[in-house]
């Protein structure tokens, strides 16, 4: 059966992997919350600093999921891991920043412009990992498990053997990120509506 083998939640102040807090925001730090996670987790990928917040969130969560599923890249061929992401606000935060780059009398910023599509995060993850499987980024009103289940079913029936799913909502109003890896295994947390809903609402256990 298809099971969720690892998942990562990014919240406003906490980063969790499989339900366990791995990073906590230091309110006194000058660093952004995502940079704090990057440093605390001792990640090394300088391109992180160029990314917009959506890509940073996707990069961080996917790296932490890879750590939680060692050997994932070796287990599958480069076109067997599908990426299926969604959010509600598309790339609105970066769109606003891009507009600001020229409305104030300056010139449009090419480095911001390249992130004014939400699916760029998929490209960042695909390039880094050399994962060349199917990918899709949907803009939906809210987190809907059926989207991942239905589209995942199509992908699994057409050659994909694993799926990295994601809800990446990063706005000025908050951070709500869930990434999860789905694989074929004999037992584990089944890839179904109830479990996806549960994980999307997951908060840290104190």
């Amino acid at each position: 059966m298809k099971v969720i083998t690892a998942y990562c939640n990014l919240r406003a102040d906490e980063c969790l992997v499989n339900g366990e807090v791995v990073s906590r925001r230091d309110a006194g730090s000058d660093d952004s919350w995502f940079k704090q996670i990057y440093k605390q987790q001792e990640l090394a990928y300088p391109k992180f600093y160029k990314m917009d917040v959506l890509s940073q969130a996707g990069y961080l969560a996917s790296e932490l999921i890879k750590r939680a599923t060692p050997g994932i890249s070796e287990t599958y061929a480069d076109d067997e891991i599908a990426l299926v992401f969604a959010n509600a606000s598309s790339s609105a935060e970066t769109d606003r920043r891009f507009i600001q780059s020229y409305e104030g009398g300056g010139s449009p910023s090419p480095s911001l412009f390249v992130y004014t599509l939400p699916n760029i995060v998929l490209g960042e993850i695909a390039i880094l990992n050399k994962w060349y499987g199917e990918n899709m980024f949907a803009v939906l009103p809210k987190f809907v498990p059926g989207f991942y289940l239905d589209y995942g079913g199509i992908l699994f029936a057409s050659g994909s053997r694993a799926l990295l799913g994601g809800w990446l909502e990063v706005t000025a109003g908050g951070t709500d990120v869930l990434l999860f890896m789905v694989e074929e295994q004999e037992s584990g947390m089944e890839f179904n509506e109830a479990n996806l809903l549960h994980l999307s609402q997951r908060v840290a256990a104190y």
Binding site: S32, K35, Y45, P46, Y49, K50, R97, S109, S111
Partner: protein
Amino acid sequence: MDSLKEDLKKQIIEQLNLEDLTVADIADDALLFNDQGLGLDSIDALELIVLLEKYHGIQLTNPEEGKEAFKSIDTMAAYIRKRKEA
């Protein structure tokens, strides 16, 4: 510290919207277009050309010069000094 190099780092952070980086995060000899350095790409090269003109009044029209000049902060500073002396 070489003030030109420090200024260049600040200008790169500003021009390329690298708010998460600080001057201290960028080594003088770090390769700007290498994944182990700053990981810049062709779009960023355009930004660096704009930066040279905007902050230093230097127009870079020869792509071969750009390849050499944009290797690192060290080479950018050397290129600016050379052009200003010419």
